[in-house]
């Protein structure tokens, strides 16, 4: 059985010659640009709602949001499972675009659902769950389409460009929401309807411009996605984890997920250390997004040149450094700027680049399932590490807890690097079993 049909070196040796790399810099496949545009538009829509939802619940509906956080953890488990099922369905019917489209569609419809849910807390909870489900279902097929429409040696760049477009959308969303509120006053309905219209436009762009079977792929023809072969079976999907390279990368992703504690903790520690004026608290997240947005493409390009593994591992070094800073002697503006930049760098170096690293290792016909497994493993581990960090904070206090978190990053790096090193080699040649 072919594990990997990658016919070119993924990362080793690095892309030769600056001239060639320079000429290629202009080349991100049309499909990647289309997917990036869909993500940008969709994120504008999503972040609009995120920005006004607290205002809407508390001031618009006069609901008590504390009752609201309770339902949160329950959905994470269900979404994780459905994400894998969605990935498998996308592979089995070779309908990655359709499954991604359904995910985008679900999230779009959820925006209208907010209007219909009215003041019912369970209904609003259900609508938010549908929105999350859509987000969970769409990301694996979307990333699989990116890997299938990009030559393996350019995956870093492709994901870099995609994640940059994605975060530009996330950056613009709250601004658009504020603009709408400025025009209509406290009518939150108008924000939801606008958000729905923007999300619907995203679906239109997807339907019109994203291709299921990329014809613009540089090296391989239409068989890249496994067309013409027998359909993927459930057994084969389970078998994915029995094979060494994919198993290693899923395991590594979960381990790496354990290294990161929740964003909220990082911002809370910064706020406490620096006594950041509480009013400015939300700007901490904005600072991180800005660093992420600016660094995603350069780091993707770097990953194509020097290899994805060093960039991913470097990202986790930046994460460890961020944690150490939070318990270190540095203070004031230098701490804020350095910590947020390093934190954004962590996201830029790992989020897309890890999928770029994983993609070539996963057989094309099972790629969506594989990516879903990688992302789910990481998400679940992240939830576990956040809970553990909460307990550590309780037991030892914030300073010790964050030092332990930094030490955990170091341990995870030591364990993960040898796990992923063979993956990098495997990715570069044809493997059979």
């Amino acid at each position: 059985m072919y594990l990997s049909t990658v016919s070119r070196p993924a990362t080793d040796p690095p892309v030769p010659g600056p001239g060639r790399a320079g000429r290629r810099a202009a080349l991100v496949s049309g499909n990647v640009v289309a997917l990036g545009t869909v993500s940008l538009v969709t994120d504008v829509s999503a972040e609009m709602v995120t920005a006004v939802l607290p205002l809407y619940l508390v001031l618009g509906l006069n609901l008590s949001p504390l009752a609201f956080g309770v339902v949160d953890g329950v959905y994470t488990g269900a979404t994780a499972l459905l994400r894998i099922v969605g990935g498998f369905v996308a592979d089995r019917f070779r309908r990655r675009k359709l499954v991604a489209g359904l995910g985008y569609g679900l999230s779009a419809v959820a925006k209208l659902g907010l209007l219909l849910a009215g003041r019912s807390v369970p209904a609003i909870g259900a609508v938010i769950a549908v929105d999350r489900l859509g987000k969970g279902v769409r990301s694996a097929p979307r990333d699989a389409l990116i890997t299938l429409s990009t030559p393996p040696q350019s995956l870093g760049r492709a994901f870099g460009v995609h994640r940059t477009m994605d975060s530009v959308g996330a950056f613009l969303g709250p601004l658009v929401a504020m603009a709408v509120l400025l025009v209509v006053g406290r009518s939150y309905d108008a924000v939801f309807v606008t958000s729905f219209c923007i999300a619907a436009l995203g679906v239109v762009v997807l339907v019109l411009f994203v291709r299921e079977r990329p014809t613009d792929r540089a090296d391989e023809g239409g068989s890249a996605d496994g067309a013409g072969e027998p359909a993927v079976s459930v057994r084969e999907a389970f078998g994915l984890l029995r094979v060494r390279a994919p198993r290693r990368i899923v395991l590594a992703a979960a381990l790496l997920g354990l290294a990161a504690v929740g964003d909220g903790f990082v911002y809370l520690l910064l706020q406490r250390r620096e006594n950041v004026e509480l009013t400015w608290f939300p700007l901490l997240a904005v600072g991180t997004s800005l660093a992420y947005l600016l660094l995603a493409t350069p780091l993707g390009l770097l990953a194509d040149r020097i290899g994805r593994l060093p960039v991913v591992l470097g990202g986790y070094v930046a994460l460890g450094a961020t944690y150490l800073l939070l318990a270190g002697p540095l203070g004031g503006w230098p701490l804020l700027v350095l910590a947020l930049t390093l934190y954004g760098l962590f996201y830029a170096a790992t989020d897309g680049v890890l999928v770029a690293l994983a993609g070539p290792v996963l057989p094309a016909r099972l790629r969506t399932t594989g990516i879903a497994l990688v992302q789910t493993g990481q998400a679940l581990a992240y939830l576990v590490s956040s809970v553990l960090f909460g307990l550590a904070w309780q037991a030892w206090g914030p300073d010790t807890a964050i030092r332990v978190a930094a030490a955990t990053v170091a341990v995870v790096l030591v364990v993960t690097a040898p796990l992923l090193a063979p993956v990098r080699r495997t990715a570069s040649r044809k493997v059979s079993r």
Binding site: T50, P54, L55, V58, L59, G60, L63, S64, P65, L66, A67, F68, G69, V70, V71, D72, G73, R119, I128, M178, L181, L182, V183, V184, G185, R186, S187, D189, A190, V193, T194, C197, I198, A200, L201, V204, V205, V207, L208, F209, R211, G262, G264, F265, Y267, L268, E277, L278, T279, F281, P282, A285, L383, S386, F389, G390, W393, Q394, G397, P398
Partner: protein, 327 residues
């Protein structure tokens, strides 16, 4: 779809964008909130915070007052815009908008003149003034800093208006939970009520999924837990009882029963109000509680119910919220 030329696709996308844009703009025009009418400052005289037989409320987001003897009758409405208001001994606290998306706390004198004012993070939720008018507290909802992503957290602060001390968040106070020192990143406070000594206070503290009644010491910066499942405490004028909202079956998703705790016996008595009350109640006198309930469309009304569990709730001030007796 593959049959379409690129030009046709771009055309279709552009047409969709125009159509969807028109839908959004049309809805916005249809749904836009009409400019609120200027508040009628005249009518039933002007609003003051001087102690007297009047009840202070928020009406259409403006500070207003009615006569206690005729609460549904003529209403004096001021130009001061607040989402939450409370007053005692001629000192008021107003949580009002600073601009479209941020809020501030304003301490008011008896003539509603601002004495001090500062930005508060998040969305206004609770406000309280001590009986002497010296201590002021507030609670806001803050989105997004809970570690399980979309959870909400609260921020509660206290100002000592005489000494000029401001604590922006109680989260730095030392906690004793069930007799033992306790700390956690997820500690949240809401709903402060002050005792007569202007130093001790009661409040709700939540951590690890539980909500406690705590007794705090402002000068010592400490709190200790007293009882579980007590939210939004409101101390009676004689300091012997606490009105609070009790989550049904200890699950806030099932709503809250307005109840009263006797501090000497720690016995809880449910009031006759069976609707879910999500408010920090106010004591109109030693025997009556006032609180806000919302109709299905979100319109608020102020209701009153006896504190001893007898009688029945009655509608006090229609179309108003955030009740505060002027004592």
């Amino acid at each position: 779809m593959t049959a379409l030329s690129t030009r046709a696709k771009v055309g279709l996308a552009a047409a969709s964008a125009v159509l969807l844009g028109a839908v959004a703009a049309g809805y916005a025009a249809f749904a836009a909130e009409p400019a609120p009418p200027p508040p009628p400052t005249a009518g039933a005289g002007s609003v003051t915070l001087d102690p007297g037989p009047r009840l202070l409320t928020v009406t259409d987001r403006h500070v207003a007052s009615v006569a206690t003897a005729d609460p549904a009758g003529p209403r004096a409405v001021s130009a001061v815009e607040c989402l939450r208001v409370y007053a005692a001994a001629g000192t008021g606290v107003c949580l009002g908008p600073e601009n479209a998306w941020s809020y501030r706390l304003v301490v008011l004198d008896a003539a509603l003149r601002p004495q001090r004012s500062f930005a508060i993070p998040g969305l206004p939720n609770r406000a309280r003034v001590s009986a002497s008018g010296r201590m002021v507290s507030w609670t806001t909802f803050v989105g997004g800093d809970s570690y399980t992503a979309s959870g909400f957290s609260t921020r509660t602060g206290i100002v000592d208006t005489r000494a000029g001390t401001t604590v922006m968040s109680l989260e730095d106070f030392a906690v004793t939970r069930e007799g033992r020192p306790y700390r956690s990143a997820d500690v949240n406070y809401w709903g402060v009520t002050f005792t007569a000594d202007d130093n001790h206070f009661y409040a709700t503290m939540s951590t690890a999924g539980k909500r406690y009644l705590v007794r705090g010491d402002f000068a010592a910066r400490t709190v200790e837990t007293l009882k579980e499942n007590v939210e939004c405490p409101s101390l009676s004028p004689d300091g012997t009882r606490i009105a609070f909202k009790e989550a049904v079956d200890a699950d806030p998703n099932r709503g809250w029963r307005l109840s009263v705790l006797d501090l000497a016996t720690m016995r809880v008595t449910a009031t006759a109000e069976t609707a879910s009350v999500d408010d920090q109640a106010a004591w109109l006198d030693g025997a009556t509680l006032a609180y806000t309930l919302r109709q299905s469309d979100g319109r608020p009304d102020v209701w009153a119910v006896p504190a001893d569990g007898s009688g029945a709730p009655r509608l006090l001030v229609p179309g108003a919220e955030s009740p505060s007796p002027l004592t």
